[in-house]
Symmetry: C2
Subunit: 334 residues, 2 copies
């Protein structure tokens, strides 16, 4: 029985994040992690004619780069887990028509990368796959058009708004004994504290991250001091502060805590307000920065908590609040 506590699953067998790849646009390249991104397209188009196709192109790029890096063929991948923010997750579906690989479509908004990694870990732990790929993408331009305004409208963004990352990140999860290793996963519950400002998704998502992280600490009898880094998906500056405050109110000291949305852009030089967001935010930060740092020993133990705001434009137009979710993956060097 691998399940411990109320929500956490202990990964009993060897499960490694054995390869990863990252793709980004110009704004991501100009940020502090820019030089670490595997492949950058400065016009964000990736030689495609629509933003939606550009996003699919990024997912294809990740898929083939992971195959190349790991020396595997398509036939060596048992299953893939993918999702994105577009209606009906179209970026993922159109990307993988030629992948010739079993496909599990996810919708977890910006928590998708963590959701996919956690599912892949469970599959690998149970010997249901030897090699699987989890990936997630977002594109500023396809998201703006779908969730907000046409770009040509030039809409003003509020100061607590976040900037959707143009990019894609993916990982190969395998039963090889190479590490970094996944040791626990915690699938979150849907949490809705009544926030209905779609320009403040960090505030909406923070309580979900608090809920999942607290559950993990409870289930595993652990605490923040046992980790070199606790990293949420994309709460941005506003949400990160709320998260930290709420965790400290629950008695957890959060000195080693940060957020992917606060790491991907340069707050002084880039006009991104509260930080980065989108499925690609945490996917890109993990693949470009955090996983290499676990591999090289900069970090020994990391908790990655992907966060997602689960509203739709229709629900927001109908006056609804923003349900949120957070999924956790524990990753260690040894």
């Amino acid at each position: 029985m691998s399940r411990i506590g109320a929500q956490t699953i202990k990964i009993d067998n060897t499960v490694s994040v054995s390869s990863w790849a990252s793709v980004g646009g110009n704004k991501e390249y100009e940020g502090p992690l820019g030089e670490k991104i595997d492949y950058v397209c400065m016009d964000n188009k990736f030689d495609e004619t629509t933003w939606e196709k550009s996003e699919s192109h990024m997912q294809q790029e990740i898929f083939s780069r992971i195959l190349n890096k790991s020396g595997k063929s398509k036939g060596g991948i048992d299953i893939m887990f993918a999702g994105d923010l577009l209606n009906q997750c179209a970026a993922s579906h159109f990307a993988h028509r030629e992948a010739d690989t079993s496909f599990i479509g996810l919708y977890g908004a910006c928590s998708t990368m963590a959701e996919g990694m956690a599912l892949a870990a469970v599959f690998t732990d149970g010997a249901n796959s030897k090699n699987s790929i989890a990936l997630a993408s977002s594109h500023f331009f396809s998201s703006e058009r779908q969730f907000r305004f046409p770009l040509e409208y030039g809409g003003q963004r509020s100061q607590n708004a976040q900037w959707t990352v143009t990019g894609c990140g993916g990982v190969l999860i395998s039963d090889e004994n190479c590490g970094p290793f996944i040791k626990h996963v915690t699938f979150g519950k849907i949490v809705d504290m009544g926030i209905n400002d779609v320009n403040n998704m960090g505030a909406a998502m923070a309580p979900a991250a608090v809920d999942t992280l607290s559950s993990f600490f409870g289930d595993t009898s652990s605490n923040p001091q046992q980790y070199d880094l606790i990293l949420t998906g994309d709460l941005g500056v506003v949400g990160r502060d709320i998260m930290k405050t709420m965790m400290e109110e629950r008695g957890y000291k959060m000195d080693n805590y940060n957020d992917c949305g606060c790491l991907i852009y340069d707050f002084e030089k880039q006009d991104i307000h509260s930080g980065g967001s989108g499925c690609a935010c945490s996917a890109l930060v993990m693949a470009a920065d955090i996983l290499p740092k676990i591999k090289d020993g900069t970090y020994e133990k990391v908790l990655f908590i992907g966060t997602g705001a689960l509203m739709s434009p229709t629900s927001s137009n109908q006056g609804e609040s923003i349900p949120s979710i957070a999924h956790l993956v524990e990753i260690t060097k040894n």
Copy 2:
């Protein structure tokens, strides 16, 4: 190692579909399975003010009915798998804000019920959950508004179009030794044969069903004659005929084959053209009709292949074809 062949996962441990529930609207009630549906709302509103909320209401109804039928509390459910057709899967997310249960959001279009059942079976097989719920919903009125035209427009439907089922179906997957039992699952690949007529989704999805079903037969060295019923999700009359022809061209005799989209409505009395569709189509047919018939011995061995058309209105407007997917679940009485 539970994986057999290229795509199929053998469920080694006891995994039962131990409870189920179904909800529908007036058109579903007036169809041949009407009397078997657990709860019907004749005005399709379920006491809510928007169609989207009505759809969430149906998911809540299923969740609480499964708890009641199985005598479990919320705390007894380890995890739930849910999805729907609304943008950002909003029906599922708003439904389960109070569920207080780990939540895995899926997007598999009309294959969602099979996708969720297959994932729940893998989780149960690996002792990652004892009791999990998989459910999927769709609503004719919320779908028409999102995918086609406002209802008030009174758009004409083509003869090969399908009718989106208003309803929800769900199952409890557990490690109890009660049956019906899940023995194998096969997660499908994305298949796109270039069909781009959004009024003919059956034709777009049939090749995906053929791909998954053929893979299953290959992986398990089995054939159609070993099953009392082979049931696709919602290909409708047009897609069912294509499916049958394609399978027969591959050498499989398909006498015991049918499709949920052909079972849910009365073709003579109800104006539904090619049949039913939507996530709820297969979810409702399984929960109201097929699972009870496996339980009572009418069927001993059933292959359920959920089928999903993975396009979005945006992709169709951009001239793209319709990628599709099919996931398979083998269910037996003993």
